[in-house]
């Protein structure tokens, strides 16, 4: 035990008094969550390592697992795009594979993160009822393990992209920003769904159904602009949509995300991108993360009783 770590904990009196009004502040709650996460960062790391080890130990696919789901999504997308191209009498574009792959990877990350984290509090039942630690680390470690998986997928994608005609551009600067937003949004969903699933066990089935059909309401296989002005606006309300579109525009088109983009689709000109989309997704991720962290933190005290 290092001296600094001792100091970090010792002076803090742990008051579990529910009637204490000073605990009601949202900011105070957020601070508490962050403090505890910093204090328990080693646990977060160990739980992440555990999840990663378990995924690759005694597993037939090994590291291929990391690219398995994105590849399947790309193949499914190609099938649909081919059908659409045939119907409209156009050719299947060569950049389609790259476009699909760039959107498939973040979508697979989002889906995987939600799937693994939703059950995280239930599967660690014995820990939740017996040992104290900030329970946030359980869903967050699931998301972190998913980051590792998708990281491998991203490495594989980076090796393939040059062969798909993707070139380096200044717009790639936006990629890290989008990644942070995506992780934030996934973490928010993870916190919310894991605690909801603790109280109501059917939440994980609801999540499964939503994720199965969610891909049709999210621009993975298509671009929102295809649906015209109104359709595009509605589809971009899905907070994941601007992130996926952002990835596509920044990587495939080399488009600076601070600049609006108008495309013609079906004879009308459609606003395919505006910086507001970025702001929308960013604030959604930030506010969502803060709100779910507070909700999670406040319901945390009931976990041991209800799990």
């Amino acid at each position: 035990m290092t001296q600094t770590a001792t100091r970090a904990v010792a002076p803090k009196a742990i008051r579990a008094n529910l009637a204490d009004p000073s605990r009601l502040g949202v900011l105070a709650d957020l601070r508490e969550v962050l403090d505890e996460l910093v204090q328990y960062r080693f646990l977060l790391q160990q739980l992440t390592l555990r999840d990663i080890r378990l995924r690759y130990k005694q597993a037939i696919m090994g590291f291929f697992w990391a690219v398995f789901m994105p590849v399947l999504i790309v193949l499914a997308g190609l099938l649909i795009k081919y059908a659409m191209a045939r119907m409209s009498g156009t050719e299947l574009q060569a950049s389609s594979v790259a476009t699909l792959a760039i959107k498939a990877l973040p979508w697979a990350f989002f889906v995987g993160g939600m799937q693994f984290s939703t059950a995280s509090l239930i599967t660690n039942h014995s820990l939740v009822t017996k040992i104290y630690f900030p329970r946030e680390v359980l869903p967050l470690s699931s998301v972190a393990a998913q980051c590792f998986d998708s990281g491998i997928g991203a490495l594989a994608l980076m090796l393939v992209l040059p062969f798909l005609g993707i070139q380096l551009s200044a717009a790639l600067f936006w990629v890290p920003v989008l990644i942070v937003m995506l992780i934030g949004m996934t973490a928010a969903a993870a916190l919310f769904l894991s605690s909801a699933n603790l109280f109501f066990r059917d939440v994980k089935y609801i999540v499964q159904v939503l994720l199965t059909f969610g891909i049709f309401f999210t621009p993975v296989f298509f671009e929102p602009a295809t649906f015209g002005e109104l359709g595009s606006r509605l589809l971009m309300l899905n907070p994941i949509a601007p992130i996926l579109e952002g990835f596509r525009l920044a990587i495939v088109e080399g488009h600076n995300l601070m600049v609006p983009l108008t495309v013609t689709s079906g004879g009308e000109s459609v606003l395919a991108w505006s910086p507001w989309h970025l702001l929308y997704a960013g604030s959604f991720a930030t506010a969502g993360l803060a709100a779910t962290a507070v909700i999670f933190h406040r319901s945390e005290q009931l976990f041991a009783e209800y799990v």
Binding site: M1, A16, L18, F42, Q45, L54, L127, Y132, F133
Partner: protein, 409 residues
């Protein structure tokens, strides 16, 4: 208010019996009530199906003190530990715990069966709040205490249950906590490991000068580890004081109700008194006299008066016998007076003699009688479990030292 690092101030905890929500329809009102009203309002009254698992419990533990919590199953011991370790929050009252907690509770809870011992040591250590450096530094000691040896890189699923428990205990025992909480972990592993584990806990409790809370059904452990104790029953504190006092209360209370008390027993013991002086010297004879009545005759060998002697400071039974075994048959009918002489060949302490009407044939209690308490004390001090009444005398004595034999050179 007390400034002790461990403080329970009028803490109550309410639980619900049965299912919590039947449908999603209950979700919104129930959740919003919980999240936004936060324990206000209804904390006082019990709604239907609620019960108090812990009711108005107060105690504090200062550095160097060790508090033992005893009581029958369902008394609220584990709930108190969960409140202490912040796993549960109190419905009412305040509990405070300052400093890094080392909880020897469910010590293998974080183990994952597919991971190796080494991986699990780091994982479990992290769950218990250890830092990476701390685990690295004490890794060899942990493995040594657990006696895992070369199996440390074997997946835990191939461990025996004893190895599992030993490794878990070993990690917990190296926590370097500022507050130590121990729950029924003194009984894992085989005999030699239990001895090592107990030594380690004893060392932690007596040498570290930190506050300690112990829950155990092994009363003699409470007696030897703790400086004070509370006795719980159905969530309330029944008694508070020195461990021996609480243990006495605990073992002399009939928790089981009247299960083995047959109203149609053929005989009753109406009363019993100690005739010899208190405290009885260790090794001397204590005589008690009891009055009883036989209501109806039974088989000549059936009805007996049994005496079960329990060391109240540890809770252990030290002796049992009954009159038929000793060659005495009770009369067929009517009142009787019986004298029992017991040789108190035991160490000093408080002993309870539980007298019952006993079925010699079926070996069971027919009717509980009174308990006579005998205090044993005085006489020369000794160590051990039995007073062997040693007599020492010098047989011969030479005035001068025998001369060192020159032939030995």
């Amino acid at each position: 208010m007390s400034d002790a690092p461990v403080l329970f101030d009028n803490v109550s905890k309410k639980f619900r019996r049965g299912e919590l929500h039947d449908s999603l329809r209950d979700l919104v009102p129930a959740m919003s009530r919980r999240l936004f009203r936060r324990g206000g309002g209804s904390a006082e009254e019990l709604e239907q199906g609620d019960f108090w698992a812990v009711r108005d419990v107060s105690f504090d533990v200062r550095p160097g003190e060790a508090l033992g919590i005893i009581g029958p199953n369902g008394a609220g011991k584990s709930t108190i530990l969960k409140l202490l370790t912040r796993i549960l929050r109190p419905t009412r009252g305040m509990c405070r715990l300052e400093g890094r907690v080392g909880a020897l509770i469910e010590i293998a809870a974080g183990f994952h069966q597919d991971l190796t011992g080494r991986e699990n040591v780091f994982l479990q250590g992290a769950i218990m709040g250890m830092s990476r450096d701390q685990i690295r530094r004490r890794f060899d000691e942990i493995v040594h205490l657990a006696g895992i040896g070369e199996f440390i890189d074997t997946p835990v699923k191939r461990y025996s249950s004893g190895m599992n428990a030993r490794l878990g205990f070993s990690i917990a025992a190296h926590l370097e906590p500022e507050v130590l909480i121990i729950d029924e972990v003194l009984s894992v592993g085989d005999w030699s490991f239990q001895a090592r584990a107990y030594d380690r806990i004893h060392e932690l409790v007596t040498n570290s000068g930190i506050p300690v809370v112990v829950v155990s059904h092994q009363l003699e452990r409470i007696a030897s580890l703790c400086t004070k104790a509370i006795l719980l029953d159905r969530g309330r504190v029944m008694h508070e004081g020195p461990p021996a006092e609480c243990i006495e209360r605990y073992v002399t209370t009939n928790w089981s109700g009247d299960e083995d008390d047959h109203t149609d027993a053929p005989a009753v013991i109406r009363g019993a008194t100690l005739l010899t002086e208190q405290p009885a010297e260790s090794g001397s004879v204590a005589r008690m006299r009891l009055q009883g009545t036989v209501h109806r005759p039974s088989g000549p060998e059936d009805v007996a008066v049994s005496m079960r002697v329990r060391a109240l400071h540890t809770g252990e039974y030290v002796f049992f016998s009954e009159t038929v075994e000793l060659g005495l048959a009770l009369p067929d009918r009517g009142d009787f007076t019986l004298d029992i002489d017991l040789g108190m060949h035991v160490p000093p302490g408080l002993y309870g003699v539980e007298l019952t009407i006993y079925d010699h044939w079926r070996r069971r209690t027919l009717k509980r009688g009174p308990t006579v308490t005998i205090e044993v004390g005085g006489g020369p001090t000794f160590l051990g479990r039995v007073q062997m009444s040693p007599r020492v005398r010098l047989v011969s004595h030479a005035e001068t030292l025998p001369p060192r034999s020159a032939s030995a050179v």
